[in-house]
């Protein structure tokens, strides 16, 4: 008898609990929405942004793009110049990413929980990586401008520092995730540090590392455009030049060439990713 009553009560409790569950969910959803809305209104007021202006600017910008951002004959005569700058930018981002990746991998071995030694050293590596990652590339490029001037090396080092910081964090995560069990297995067989790295960590983490490298190459092309505008180098400089001269057709050619390059790299990296994962 008592058992049956208990069950009855439990069932009733469940039945009572159900609407409560929905009410609670609705309440958290509403609270969440209110917070987001509040932040939005506050931010709009502070920055002088209005959503109506923002939305209405989109069709205007699209119409303007349709009228002005179309390469004309004069723009096409400058195609070789654009392509040579584009080539420079593409090569820059590959070179930066590869070198930063090699250095970041060494650092990630020292900073990872599975391969790092001691407590102090991994923590130090993480702090160094956080520093390089979080100092904006804008600051690096302005700083480097002072000594390197309008040189490709300005862009190179500015990109290198941020890429190194980002990849070190990403690689540490990859190495931690992928290789914990195989490092343990190799350690138990008495393998020393280098065999563990070359036979265990690198093979098991390689596809993850490669995915990050390909992603960074793509990102660096976009970042180098920004840095180029600031430092007067590469494809960003070319865009800025024509943009400020109000020669929009040529500027649009620059934009189109960047789009084609990024999409090309994205396609290649998707293919590679599909092959290695």
């Amino acid at each position: 008898m008592e058992k049956a009553q208990d069950q009855m009560e439990k069932q009733q409790g469940c039945a009572k609990g159900t609407p409560d569950f929905f009410r609670k969910r609705r309440r958290t959803d509403l609270l969440f929405a209110a917070c987001v809305l509040g932040l939005f209104v506050f931010s709009s007021a502070l920055t002088g942004f209005s959503l109506a202006d923002g939305i209405s600017s989109i069709p205007r910008a699209l119409v303007w793009m349709g009228q002005n951002l179309i390469p004309d004959e004069q723009a096409l005569t400058r195609l070789p110049k654009v392509l040579s700058r584009l080539y420079e930018t593409a090569m820059l981002s590959v070179a930066v990413t590869v070198l930063a990746a090699v250095l970041a991998f060494l650092f990630s071995l020292a900073g990872s929980k599975t391969t790092g030694r001691g407590r102090l050293f991994p923590r130090l590596v993480r702090i160094v990586a956080a520093f390089f990652r979080n100092v904006p590339d804008v600051v690096w490029s302005i700083l480097l401008m002072f000594s390197f001037g309008q040189n490709i090396l300005t862009g190179f080092f500015a990109l290198f520092f941020t890429t190194f910081g980002l990849l070190t964090r990403a690689f540490i995560e990859t190495v931690d995730e992928v290789s914990a069990s195989c490092v343990e297995a190799l350690t138990s067989t008495g393998a020393s540090f280098f065999p563990i790295v070359f036979q265990g960590v690198i093979p098991s983490a390689m596809s993850g590392l490669m995915t990050w490298i390909l992603y960074m190459i793509e990102t660096n092309i976009r970042s180098s455009t920004l840095i180029g505008i600031l430092t007067g180098t590469g494809i960003g400089y070319l865009f800025d030049l024509y943009y400020k001269r109000l020669e929009y057709p040529t500027a649009s050619l620059v934009v189109l060439s960047i789009v084609v390059l990024v999409l090309l790299i994205e396609t290649i990296s998707n293919r590679v990713r599909r092959a290695i994962l």
Binding site: G54, L69, E88, A95, V255
Partner: protein, 292 residues
């Protein structure tokens, strides 16, 4: 070294039984320990191409006759000035903090707009919710948006909307839309297939499925992605302030560095940005850990 090692020990951490049938032997009859799988060959090939490109890059860069040792020395000197002698002269601390808040707000606005638009677009391009033709169109559209660097979007919008917060926010939102659409669509695709099927079978319409199944199942992932994007948008907003005159602390950094040529000032502002970013990163990591 890396290329050679990539093939070695591929069995480790995997189920050896899967590979026993495929055991390869070399001509001499010994067992091959390097697997010739498609994946290993690709990795090796990509590495060779990347290294060749890097060498080619350094060979063809136009260095414009620069005195490297002098440049490196003065860079170290400047780095020392920026990071070890930070000092405000042109801005007040309160003023700089206010600019930091402006940057924060620009990031929040663009993330909010990006997230709202991405919610709709992701429903249109998730494999389990949309038809494949619409999905292909949306995905292509989003990929093209992403291919244009953020700074160019901001500058393009600046022509029709004027330099200022509108151009900055809309320009920043464009990238957020494409990034978040991709992420949201992936979390919707990872949903359990049975839930949607069950609701469809019971006659639920599209919006009922969205609100009763998709949203509850993916909300926490979406929040994590959105916050991660906010982190990115904050740093982007700093960059836009410097490169596109969008206001906020980035503009102050640009003025300090390129106009007043005051590295001490730039150092102080940099520290403020770094601290803000690290705080955001910590929150983001906590949210991610909670979701997982």
């Amino acid at each position: 070294m890396m290329n050679e090692a990539a093939g070695n020990g591929v069995f480790l951490g995997m189920d050896p039984a899967r590979y026993l049938g495929k055991m390869e032997k070399s001509r001499k009859g010994s067992i091959r320990i390097k697997s010739k799988s498609r994946s290993n060959v690709t990795v090796r090939l990509v590495w060779i191409v990347l290294i060749l490109l890097t060498v080619l890059a350094f060979a063809t860069f136009r260095y414009k006759q620069i005195d490297l040792t002098e440049a490196v020395q003065s860079t170290f000197h400047n780095i020392g000035t920026v990071f070890f002698q930070p000092e405000l002269t042109y801005d007040t601390f309160g003023g700089a903090l206010y600019q930091l808040l402006i940057t924060f707000c620009l990031g929040a606005l663009s993330t909010g707009i990006g997230a709202a638009a991405a919610l709709f677009l992701s429903l249109l391009c998730a494999k389990n919710m949309a038809n494949s033709k619409v999905a292909a169109v949306v995905k292509g559209f989003v990929a093209v948006i992403r291919a244009v660097p953020t700074v160019l979007w901001v500058l393009i919008f600046a022509v029709s909307a004027g330099l200022g917060s509108v151009a900055a926010v809309i320009g920043l939102s464009f990238h957020s839309i494409s990034y978040l659409t991709k992420c949201y669509a992936e979390s919707i695709e990872e949903m359990e297939a049975g839930t949607i099927e069950a609701l469809k079978a019971s006659g639920a319409n599209f919006w009922q499925i969205v609100f009763q199944a998709v949203w509850p199942a993916t909300a926490s992932y979406m929040v994590a992605w959105t916050f991660m994007r906010f982190e990115i948008n904050f740093t982007n907003a700093v960059a836009m302030g410097a490169a596109a005159g969008a206001g906020g602390i980035g503009y102050n950094v640009f003025m300090a560095g390129s106009f007043y040529l005051d590295l001490h000032e730039m150092g102080f502002l940099t520290y403020m940005i770094v601290i803000a970013v690290i705080l955001l990163e910590t929150v983001s990591t906590k949210i991610k850990a909670k979701v997982k």
